[in-house]
Symmetry: C2
Subunit: 239 residues, 2 copies
């Protein structure tokens, strides 16, 4: 179904715009995403509620309404300076992972760009789920959603403390201490939780101290790698 | 030397604020950076021209002026919502690389966050320089500088066409075609240029076709990795 919206005071538009804020995402259990590629992935996952677009899009199921809007109105619901012409509302879905053999635990990840990039990388390396610690940024933040490049529509996202998930799984941390084995000597456990830590402070001390395996990526000239880069390298070694 | 600035019309402040725009960075051969950690790296490189700060900083050479400003004025020169309290003006330095055995070529990299993260990673993996293609974003853009985490103060940055640098070096591209060898079977040449391509379109066709080595990172479920993630993984394999 295609409908036109011409007023900035339209309720559907105002509702969608409210989803830019975390509290409304939580209240309505919905979030926003943008662009044709992400839309295709969201449609495939059956996650699309309604679409705001500057021109009609082909092959959209009839029960999903396309709201035709002028560019100026699209900017009300978009989070980018120059929107691609498509913004859509998605349901927040609690996707159950089929198994939990390869999991990444986000320990106080602060930057939504990093969070989204880690989701994208986790999906690419076929992880079963990500677990997001308390104190991490919002998974459904616009920058996280954008950086995930649609991974958010199929990767199961769990929330909680690492200890709820430890049983039967080896906890792997990246650490710079002497006990840490070089990443090239890392043996891949059958079932594991890869922990990646906060941008400024690294992995929480309690998790560092209780980890089963500590590994390090040898670097020079600079303190640390970006957390998403380190995660990518670790995931590549752990497959 | 410490001086106070109380007016938003102060010339030093206005000059620094102008450096948020690429055209003024080019005109004055200067750029802005922020935060204590980056300042330390910039000082070490002898790159700091002047500092705007909300409180005096210790151990700053006397010939570098510290301008004391209120938070409100600091925001004029800062590019972040909540500045850390320190913004400084740096000289753009044409640092000559000592050698060019390990180089990364940025082929139309569009996103300054990716560019900065690649600089940070290149420094961490001890690359001799980065080469930035025409059509890439500005290396001295605030987001690139921030993401580089100070790498911009020591990593030599060259500009130009890849063909000017090819002699005696193997060109390595990441490609998804059938000829590409799996990254785990990649042999490390003595002297090489690692090419990383545009976020949407990948490596330029001409470079793809003329590359000496094509390699691929096996992924699932999603089209591609983020370019900085792919670069990190490639660099890890090439050491």
């Amino acid at each position: 179904m295609i409908k036109e919206i011409t007023s900035k005071d339209n309720n559907k538009l105002k509702h969608a715009a409210s989803l830019k804020e975390a509290k409304y995402r939580k209240e309505y259990n919905e979030f926003l995403s943008e662009g044709k590629k992400s839309l295709d992935m969201a449609l495939q996952a059956g996650n699309v509620k309604e679409i705001f677009t500057v021109k009609p899009i082909k092959n959209i199921p009839d029960d999903i309404t396309q709201y035709l809007v002028k560019e100026e109105l699209l900017k009300k619901v978009s989070s980018v300076k120059n929107p691609e012409g498509i913004v859509f509302v998605c349901n927040i879905v609690n996707r159950k992972p089929k198994k939990l053999n390869k999991v990444v635990y986000l320990d106080h990840i602060n930057d939504p760009g990093n969070m989204g990039t880690i989701m994208r990388t986790a999906l690419a390396f076929d992880y079963d789920a990500i677990i997001v610690s308390e104190g991490s940024c919002d998974v459904y933040n616009d920058k996280a959603v954008a950086a995930s490049k649609g991974a958010i529509f199929s990767l199961p996202v769990l929330f909680g403390d690492i200890n709820e998930f430890r049983e039967g799984r080896q906890v792997i941390v990246s650490a710079l201490n002497e006990k840490a084995v070089d990443i090239n000597d890392l043996e891949k456990p059958k079932s594991f939780i890869l922990v990646v830590g906060n941008e400024a402070n690294g992995v929480t001390k309690e998790i560092l101290d209780s980890a089963d395996i500590a590994t390090k990526i040898e670097i020079k000239n600079i303190d640390s790698l970006n957390v998403a880069i380190a995660t990518g390298i670790l995931m590549d070694h752990l497959r």
